[in-house]
Symmetry: C2
Subunit: 332 residues, 2 copies
């Protein structure tokens, strides 16, 4: 049971999920005594939909993924993934070390046929529609045209399942909208994605269009995706700081700030990044949801919800079907 | 005289600059009749610090850079750059087609020794300090370690000159701060930059640290830089829209919105992207400032100011010296 706060956040989030989803059961992996003490604290230590499993190793945030994979065979992360592999659980939610989660997932669950490595995909809020799914967010630093095409297929199926949208618009991130812009690799990826019948390919888009809401899936390499996502976090923090400072300028602005508080609260609720917690590791033969290390109770609950929805939709199964159909294009 | 608005924006901006800088003279290139009519409109058609030069070709925003370079030898862009080459002007400011400006600048002005292509660099507001310089913003889609090192040298000298900072902190954008993160190319670039005595290399940074203000120069490839910059524009637009919508919810929120107007104005002024208009094409044997196509009068004035400051500092000359000192590392 990882993340920055461990069971102190996970247990209340699980409690919330048990109430909201009467058919869902939990297996909790980690230090047994600590988990039990938190269960007791929250007064549901004898819940019939909770089972606690003791782990002895501990994957830390600084652990090298390969070392974690080789030496920490009894970590909560590893045991939870093995439960998914063995059909004991439908999905694994973890707030632990992303690199280790990737490496161990890949080893324990294996990849879908034709996929080399998992991609990280997550929803991001937009102007018109509710959200867009952006991938990859950092699992694959450099990507050739085949991998970008795999991302398009996986993103497309994910949106179809989760948003009940039969024909999502899928776009490729580039430095210009014109067909001749960007690297040759990107142009080849555009051709490959465009040739797939199952995808409504919308062409190249630029960075400012990520938040426009015109597209439902935007595909890019993990280096760019990761930096765009993290820069957005940094910019949001910068702008929040600036607006706060503007309201704290003098007694009058502080007064208007008090009056405007409900508005600021509405605004914060609408753009709350916690709603979007729960990135998915796609391409695996099982469902793995990565919760933010610093997630609070609400954000952790959102990550659990994501796992429940994906389990109901049997997402890996559906992605697998589409990959098989696209095999000819991908092998080309 | 390009950009979305042509002389209707440029002429008032020039008027403002003539007042603010009594020692600066302007050469205006474009359609003579149109320029003169705007000069007349703004009542300074007989100014002794303005000369108008007629151009006959027109580089449009959609023009292919190579076509513009080969076929439009009498465009305002080309003539202005030739004036810089021939020592008739200290700097060229353009709001025209970026690709064409890059290609024509490179052909007319030539690159500094050891530099293959210009990089686009611009200041971005940050939390602690006033700004950070990010490069490349889209001139070089893919960059090897040599090119990233050239960016570090150019960014470092630019900040030293413009911000009067003798030892700027220079960082490399990556998907993690640890030395083993990212591609091998990035790790080699880190080594090369770290070996240069003239640079205070601060290591790898992640996207969220762009806006933190702890660094003065952040180096990345043009694909990532362009997407981070444009995504930031898109996110700012999204957040502005959401805050406006929150204030327009009902009569009470509209009322508090009226009271909070001065605060919102302060906030908007502080984060005004127009202040940061005027990206520089570094690596050339002359000063070329790219103004945003949609720049207004104030933003265009800021781009002109940027050109004036860089001219006073003889920026290309200083960058050239540092490149010569670093030649051994770059040739390695």
């Amino acid at each position: 049971m990882g993340g920055d706060f461990g069971p102190s956040v996970t247990i209340p989030a699980v409690k919330k999920a048990l109430k909201a989803y009467p058919n869902v059961a939990f297996q909790l992996f980690g230090d047994e005594a600590t988990i039990n003490s938190y269960l007791k604290l929250h007064r549901f230590n004898k819940h019939d939909r909770i089972r606690v499993f003791a782990s002895s190793d501990d994957v830390t945030m600084d652990d090298n993924p390969i070392i974690a994979l080789k030496n920490k065979k009894n970590s909560s992360m590893r045991l939870a993934l093995e439960a998914v592999r063995d059909g004991q659980a439908h999905a694994c939610v973890s707030a632990g070390n992303t690199g280790a989660l990737m490496a161990i997932s890949r080893f324990v669950l294996k990849m879908l046929p034709g996929i080399d490595r998992p991609a990280i995909i997550s929803a991001i809020p937009t102007l018109i529609n509710e959200h867009v799914f952006l991938l990859d967010l950092g699992a694959n630093v450099s990507c050739d045209e085949r991998r970008l095409t795999q991302f398009a297929i996986m993103g497309n199926e994910l949106v179809k399942c989760l948003d009940d949208n039969p024909s999502p618009k899928v776009a490729l991130l580039n430095v210009g909208e014109e067909e001749n812009k960007g690297s040759e690799k990107l142009q080849r990826a555009a051709e490959m994605i465009n040739s797939l019948e199952s995808i409504d390919y919308a062409g190249f888009v630029e960075g400012n269009q990520i938040f426009s809401g015109e597209y439902q899936v935007i595909v890019t390499d993990g280096f760019t995706g990761n930096n765009v996502l993290k820069a957005s976090e940094g910019l949001t923090r910068y702008l929040s700081h600036k607006i706060k400072a503007a309201f704290e300028r003098n007694w009058w602005t502080r007064f208007t700030g008090l009056l405007a508080k409900p508005v600021i609260r509405t605004f914060k609720h609408e753009v709350n990044p916690e709603k979007y917690n729960g990135a998915c590791l796609v391409g695996l033969r099982g469902i793995v949801i990565k919760s933010h290390g610093a997630a609070n109770v609400f954000a952790t609950f959102c990550a659990i919800e994501e796992a429940i929805v994906q389990s109901k939709q049997k997402l890996p199964h559906k992605i697998r079907e589409k990959l098989e159909q696209a095999a000819a294009t991908l092998d080309h």
